[in-house]
C-alpha cells in the first residue's frame, strides 16, 4: 500500500477545513472558502472557454465560416452585455438580456402547458366507480390535486366550503413537505458518507498503512 499522494493530503486538508465551519467560523474555513470561491470561478473560466466558446463559437467559425457566419451575432450580443460599463450607452445591453430572457421564457411557456399542466391533469382523471381499495387511492389522489389547486386561488374571497377545501389542500402540502423532507435525509447522508469514505478509506487508512 502506497502512502497517499500530495493531492490526497490537499483534499483532506480542505475537507476538514470546510467541516470546521460547523463548529464556528475560523481562519481555516475562511481560507478554504475564499480559495473555493476563486478556484471555482477559475474552473468555470476553463469550462466555459473549453466547453462552450471554443466548440460552439470559435471552432465552427474557423472550420466552416460559410455555414456559421451568423455566429458573429451572439458574439456581438455577448459584447453588448459589457456596454453597461459604458455610462452613456449602457442601455444597449438591454438587447442582449431581452433576447436571452424572452427566448427561454417562450420555451418555458409551452413547456409548462404542454409538458406540465395537460399531462398532470390527464393523470388526475381517474374513474371512481368501483368500490375497492384502488378507487379509494384514486379518490385520495384526486382530492389532493384539486384541493391544492383550490388553495392557490388568489382572487376570490374564501367561502366556508372553499376555506375547508383549501385547508385540506394545506394538509396535503404538509404531508408532501414532511414526506419529501424525510425522503431526502438519505441523499444528504449519502454525501457525507462519500466524504467520510474519502477521509477514512483514501487518506487515514493508507497513511496508517492499513
Amino acid at each position: 500500500m502506497h502512502p497517499p499522494e500530495i493531492g490526497v493530503w490537499i483534499a483532506a486538508f480542505l475537507t476538514i477545513a470546510c467541516l470546521t465551519f460547523l463548529y464556528k467560523d475560523n481562519p481555516f474555513f475562511r481560507f478554504a472558502e475564499s480559495l473555493f470561491a476563486g478556484v471555482s470561478l477559475g474552473y468555470y473560466v476553463g469550462i466555459v472557454l473549453n466547453q462552450t466558446l471554443l466548440p460552439n463559437l470559435f471552432a465552427p467559425m474557423r472550420e466552416n465560416f460559410g455555414q456559421n457566419w451568423d455566429l458573429v451575432v451572439p458574439g456581438l450580443l455577448g459584447v453588448l452585455l459589457y456596454m453597461r460599463y459604458a455610462p452613456k450607452i449602457g442601455w444597449v445591453s438591454r438587447y442582449a438580456l431581452a433576447i436571452y430572457v424572452t427566448y427561454y421564457i417562450g420555451l418555458d411557456f409551452t413547456r409548462r402547458i404542454h409538458g406540465e399542466v395537460l399531462p398532470q391533469l390527464a393523470r388526475a382523471i381517474l374513474p371512481l366507480s368501483s368500490l375497492d381499495r384502488a378507487t379509494f387511492f384514486s379518490l385520495v389522489y384526486v382530492l389532493g390535486v384539486f384541493s391544492v389547486l383550490v388553495y392557490f386561488f388568489f382572487s376570490k374571497e374564501q367561502g366556508p366550503i372553499t376555506r375547508r377545501i383549501s385547508r385540506l389542500g394545506i394538509w396535503f402540502l404538509m404531508i408532501s413537505f414532511g414526506a419529501a423532507f424525510g425522503f431526502t435525509v438519505m441523499g444528504r447522508v449519502a454525501l457525507l458518507i462519500g466524504r467520510l469514505n474519502f477521509l477514512i478509506l483514501d487518506w487515514i487508512y493508507p497513511t496508517l498503512g492499513i
Binding site: G115, L192, L201
Partner: protein
Amino acid sequence: MAGFFERIVHLDRRWIFLLVLVSVATPIVIPIGLPVTTTGPTRAAFEFIEALHEGDVVLISFDYGPSSAPENDPMAEAVMRQCALKKLRFVVCALYALGGLGLANNVVAKIEGEFPNLRDGVDYVNLGYKDGAAAVMRHMGEDIAGAFPTDVHGKPTSEIPLMKGVHDLRQVKLVFTAATGLIGEWWITQVHPQVGIPVIIGPTAVSAPKYYAYLNSGQLVGMLGGMKGAAEYESLLRARYPELAKFYTTTRAFTATKGMDGQTVLHTVILLLLLLGNVAYFRQRRASAKARA
C-alpha cells in the same frame, strides 16, 4: 428534570452535528450488513431491463456531478452490469457539465475491468460529454451522430459498429439517466414526448419525490430513488445473478448496500432526536402552562 427538557428544547445544534458525524463514521469502520427491502419503482425499472432482448440498445446518460456520486455511481454501475450480463448493447453519454464525463469514464473503466469480454464500439460505446443538455437531447432524438460526432476517443460515431442501425433515439430501447438535477427531468418532459422512448431515472433522493408524478402519469417506466434505490437495485441484481456477488462483497470498495448501514443508524438517531425534541417541547409547554395558572 424541567431544566433538562428546557436545555433539550434549546439544544445547541453543534451537539447534533457531533452526533451525526459519529453515527455516520462508525459504520464505515465497523460495517453492520443490514438487509434491504425493495420498492415498486425500483422493481419496475429492474424488470423492464430484464425484459429487453439480447442486442437491444440502451442509452445510459451521466447527468450528475461528483457531489452526488455516492448516490448515482452505484446506480450507473448496477445498470451497466445488468446490461453486460444480459448482452444488451449500451451507449454512454454525459450531459452534466461539472464532471459528468469524468464519472462516466470512471464507471465505464470499472465495468470494463469487471467484464473483460466487453468490446468497445461493439458492445458499448462512450460518446463523451456535450454542452447544452436540452438541445443535445432534442438533437439525439433526431440524429445521435449529429449530436455526438465522435466518441470519447475521437472516433467518428458513424463508423462505430454499434451505431450501425442506431440513427436516432427511436432505435434505442431505453434511456437510463442517473441524474442530480434538471437534466434528468428533461429526458421525461422533452425527449419522451418527442420520440416516445421509455425512460428510467436514477435521481438523487432529494428529487425523487417529484418524479412520482411522472411515474403515475406513465411518463416514466421506473426509478431508483437515491442510495436506497441503488441498494435495492443491487439486491435485486444479486438475487437474480449470484455471479455478481463478488463485486458487492469486497471490503475496500464502496457500494450502496454498505452506505445503507450508515443511513439506517443516522435515520434512527434523527428519529430519536425528533422524539426527544417533542417530549421536551410538551413537557416545557405543560410546565409553562402550570406556571401561568
